[in-house]
């Protein structure tokens, strides 16, 4: 067991300094880029939000044929993105359902078992929504799991021995789901689909936040605090922040739109 110890705050200050060094780097590069932006655009800058309308006007003049081509391409992208999303949901459902049958889950922490049950139904709702959108767009519903992460799950399942192992695997799936949908928002062609992906990504992120907090409590041998309501006064300080490690949700691990597309 790793207990709670007193850490010299000078260590935290050093870590903060390192963090600020990285931030300073980001500031410098960003300023350079913005300076380039200003220099390139001159006294009457055409900023990205203005160029959008310019491009829209230009697109209108291109002609019907190319518009149809663009629409067809966008539709294909939409369908693949929706199918991949459904495949990620299908895998998550499968993993959570499998987890719910494990003895240490069934007979373990009641709150974790309830979380797994509730999260399963939420992923089912997501899969249903993505597949409904797929069929509405003229594509085939995806009822199979994401192949890349299905392989990861297949490899991992035999080594799962306790609740922490389940949480770790679930975290992987929730994070890839959240990252993928966050990226999909910028990839799909309609406002309706943007809203769909943007309404699901935060829910997966909330699953991840909860699992990160649970993981930290399990690691600190404080499973008794995984309860609703919990004893807030007894929670370790880190429990208040471990659930949201990034200021901006990353997309570096987002699945490609074709990953779970129906072949």
């Amino acid at each position: 067991m790793i207990g709670v110890v007193d850490i010299d705050t000078r260590l935290l200050e050093e870590l903060s300094e390192q963090s600020q060094d990285l931030n300073s780097d980001a500031v410098r590069i960003t300023r350079d880029a913005l300076s380039d932006f200003t220099a390139a655009t001159g006294p009457q800058p055409r900023h990205w939000w203005r160029r959008g309308s310019t491009m829209a006007a230009a697109a209108g003049a291109v002609g019907l044929a190319s518009t149809r081509t663009a629409a067809a391409a966008a539709s294909s992208t939409d369908i693949m993105a929706l199918q991949t999303a459904a495949s990620i949901e299908n895998l998550a459902i499968s993993v959570y359902q499998t987890a719910s049958g494990l003895s240490f889950i069934k007979n373990g922490n009641k709150t974790i078992a309830e979380f797994i049950a509730k999260t399963t139904t939420q992923h089912q709702a997501h899969a249903k929504a993505f597949n409904a959108a797929v069929t509405q767009a003229g594509g085939k519903a995806q009822n199979a799991p994401d192949p890349k992460y299905a392989a990861v799950v297949k490899k991992t399942l035999p080594s799962i021995k306790n609740t922490a192992d389940v949480v770790k695997l679930a975290l992987t799936l929730e994070d890839v789901a959240a990252q993928t949908y966050t990226k999909n928002v910028s990839q799909v062609s309609s406002a309706q689909l943007r809203k769909l992906f943007a309404s699901v990504a935060p829910v997966e992120a909330q699953h991840r936040a909860t699992l990160l907090a649970v993981q930290a409590l399990l690691a600190g041998n404080m499973a008794n605090l995984i309860a609703i309501p919990t004893d807030v006064a007894k929670l370790p300080a880190a429990a208040g922040s471990v659930g949201f490690p990034n200021a901006f949700y990353p997309t570096t691990n987002a699945s490609p739109i074709s990953e779970g597309a129906v072949k």
Binding site: L12, S24, P245
Partner: protein
């Protein structure tokens, strides 16, 4: 309340601290190289006069990353926000959770200074500043002993969430200034007086957490609204990358309040703030 600024030691497990540190470093290192490459691409793209269509198709994350990296520059700077005369003079009886629904259109703001997509950006800055200010006020009240005993986890939540909201505000403000518009450092929202009044009445951390949850829900749902109502690709991507973070804040607040952390199957928009709340 125990914080690093007040004492030399913090009660935290080494394991937890190490994990947090690794996550922070990973976040930075994952973001910076990509941001460098994409910032260079952005400058080149602008010089060559390429438009949004090609940019969006080939580099959908480019400007979001630029904005995100700029936002990270806020670092650990925890800026308190003030309320200017204009904001204070705006009369409103709306609570922070009583913002108009997403059906409200992005029409011209009260002074017309920010229009179109920039109006949504201005709204985003104002909401982020509102959150930073609320959390700073919480820290001040806690330090003054006005909230009773504040659990360590709540204190950590407040400081970390506040820093992330400052990052978000910085990112959105960089968009405004790049557009030749003034950055927003106050809270030009008509519901700010009600927010301040609610904060002033808080007697304990539970009261504050309830109010914070309203602000986080409002922010997350406003960004969801933005993803389907903003035209610019970079604006959409930035909103999409922030909404999950606000939702994560909300999840932890639910847990602190003894509520289920993921109450909705899909993020709703009934608590989204309307651009009509803006007073600039």
């Amino acid at each position: 309340m125990t914080t690093a600024r007040e004492g030399r030691h913090l009660p935290i497990s080494e394991d937890q601290l190490s994990r947090l540190t690794r996550d922070l470093e990973t976040a930075h290192r994952d973001t910076l190289p990509a941001m460098r490459a994409n910032a260079a691409d952005l400058a080149e793209d602008i010089r060559s006069g390429q438009g949004d269509a090609r940019d969006r198709a080939q580099h959908p994350d480019r400007r979001r990353l630029l904005l995100g990296a700029g936002g990270l520059a806020a670092g650990l700077v925890l800026a308190a926000c003030s309320n200017d005369g204009k904001s204070n003079s705006a009369s409103s009886t709306k609570g922070v959770g009583a913002a108009p629904s997403s059906s409200a259109s992005a029409s011209a703001s009260s002074t017309g200074q920010y229009t179109g997509d920039l109006q949504v950006v201005a709204l985003a800055v104002a909401l982020e500043n509102q959150a930073v200010g609320a959390y700073q006020a919480t820290l001040n009240a806690a330090k003054a002993g006005k909230l009773g005993t504040v659990p360590p986890a709540v204190a950590t939540f407040v400081t970390t969430a506040m820093a992330q909201h400052a990052d978000h505000a910085k990112a959105w403000n960089s968009v405004l200034t790049a557009a030749g518009k003034p950055a927003i450092h106050n809270v030009p929202l008509s519901n700010q007086p009600a927010t301040l009044a609610a904060l002033g009445k808080a007697k304990n951390y539970t009261d504050v957490a309830k109010l914070a949850l309203q602000l986080e829900d409002q922010a997350a749902q406003t960004y969801l609204f933005a993803t389907s109502n903003v035209k610019a690709a970079a604006g959409i991507a930035t909103a999409a990358s922030i909404a999950p973070v606000e939702a994560m804040h909300a999840a932890i607040l639910h847990f602190i309040l003894g509520q289920y952390p993921v109450p909705d199957d899909f993020l709703p928009t009934d608590k989204a703030a309307s651009p009509a709340l803006l007073t600039v």
